[in-house]
């Protein structure tokens, strides 16, 4: 499916654009907005990312993942580059490092209904686990940077990330 769409894009078939845009534009824009926190700036970066995706479609290998995954990865990378140069990243790191949302208890997770989506699962994660995932994903901090930033051992960061990602993986729909 993705392979066919990519082939059409690679040949310059503009009729594939609508399909491509409908498939990726929402997540692309939203992840950029989440990183930059500014709609106008997010729209500019999203435009750049989508044009890059359109032009680089011929290099995409469908066997290595979905077209949506590739698009989100490119968008996130572009947004993080912009955030580093604009100072938005620092502000986001500060925010995510300091403001812990109400922590979901292990009991709540155990007793409540299972999460229906990945976002619901993310909300149900313990705050410290969700924090490392969000810091890594939305600010681009590495494990070492997170350990320094949070003042915790590197091993703790690894453990939190692993636990969080395994919980999130558990709610993925089967392919």
């Amino acid at each position: 499916m993705d392979g066919d769409l990519i082939r059409r894009i690679a040949t310059g078939d503009r009729s594939a654009f609508d399909e491509f845009y409908a498939k990726v534009s929402g997540p692309v824009y939203q992840v950029i907005l989440a990183i930059l926190g500014n709609r106008a700036e997010a729209e500019d970066v999203a435009q750049e990312a989508l044009v890059q995706l359109w032009r680089d479609a011929g290099r995409f290998d469908p066997s290595r993942g979905s077209i949506l995954g590739w698009a989100v990865s490119i968008a996130r990378s572009r947004a993080l580059d912009r955030a580093r140069s604009s100072g938005a990243r620092r502000r986001l790191v500060d925010r995510l490092s300091q403001s812990m949302r109400p922590e979901a208890t292990e009991e709540r997770i155990k007793d409540g209904p299972p999460p229906a989506s990945l976002h619901e699962a993310l909300e149900q994660l313990p705050a410290e686990q969700r924090q490392v995932v969000e810091l890594a994903y939305f600010t681009g901090l590495t494990q070492t940077e997170m350990a320094e930033r949070l003042g915790i051992p590197l091993g703790t960061v690894k453990t939190r990330v692993k636990l969080a990602m395994e919980k999130l993986r558990a709610v993925l729909p089967h392919e």
Binding site: R14, G26, E43, G69, S73, R76, A136, V161, E166, R169
Partner: protein
């Protein structure tokens, strides 16, 4: 944490782009050989993709993207395809025309070769004829020259004989190794001799020629040695006595017929006695 559990933890960090340092190098080596880790990594990638907040893009974004995309890529592709097809058609057509032209040229060349061969044969034939003609011409020239020479000599001798015989005197040829022809001149009524290289008259031998008023009376075609000595039936009286040794051979010329022209072996200069 088991070894594989350790690497799965690294795979989770790798999918988030948070792996760094020695762990990153270690995992990248490990993942090449470990299929379960690559599978786990693929699932963590799906998690990372799913972490993107849900929601739509603003309406204005699509127009902004379309504004910077290549214009009507599909149409451009179609135009390129059409141009390519047209080029192929044109090429095919030109190749067809060239092939036809080539065939015509080959046919013309073949015709020209045939015509050339025909002309060469005719030229060879003409050259051969020309050579033959030239040879014949040379041969004729030589024959004419020879005939002319003989004619001149004949005339000279004839003049001498005529001068002698017309005065009623005998003309005597003295052999010198040459030969001659005797010719009965019907107009002049005399005997003419001229050189004949085939039968030499021995040195010292003589031929006596005489003039007959009635030329019909001398029939040299029937002459033999004896007759030549005698010539009794028709020779003028007294002439035969003067004839000394003479070797005469007579043959009739079939083209002229006997007795108007005969060949007589003889030699010598004509001298008046």
């Amino acid at each position: 944490m088991s070894d594989h559990g350790h690497f799965e933890g690294l795979a989770a960090l790798y999918a988030l782009g948070a792996l760094d340092g020695a762990d990153l190098a270690t995992y990248e080596i490990h993942r090449r050989e470990c299929l379960p880790c690559r599978r786990a990594e693929a699932e963590f990638d799906r998690v990372a993709t799913g972490l993107a907040p849900s929601g739509a893009a603003p309406e204005s974004l699509k127009a902004k993207v379309e504004a910077v995309l290549p214009k009507k890529g599909g149409e451009r592709s179609n135009i390129i395809t059409a141009l390519a097809l047209a080029a192929v058609l044109l090429l095919t057509l030109s190749m067809f025309v060239e092939v036809q032209h080539l065939r015509d040229v080959r046919r013309e060349a073949s015709d020209l070769r045939v015509a050339q061969e025909r002309l060469e044969r005719r030229l060879e034939s003409a050259m051969l004829k020309l050579e033959l003609t030239i040879a014949e011409k040379e041969s004729l020239k030589r024959a004419i020259r020879s005939f002319s020479d003989q004619n001149i000599a004949l005339r000279s001798d004839l003049d001498k004989v005529m001068a002698l015989t017309s005065k009623g005197r005998r003309a005597v040829m003295t052999g010198d190794g040459g030969t001659g022809l005797v010719y009965l001149d019907p107009a002049g009524g005399g005997v003419v001799f001229f050189a004949n290289p085939k039968a030499p008259l021995k040195p010292g031998e003589h031929l006596v020629l005489w003039m007959l008023k009635d030329q019909e009376a001398l029939n040299v075609a029937h002459c033999d040695e004896k007759a030549a000595y005698g010539m009794s039936p028709s020779a003028p009286a007294g002439m035969s006595a003067a004839v000394q040794k003479v070797a005469i051979s007579v043959e009739t010329d079939p083209a002229v017929g006997s007795p108007t022209m005969s060949r007589v072996l003889m030699i010598g200069d004509v001298k008046a006695e």
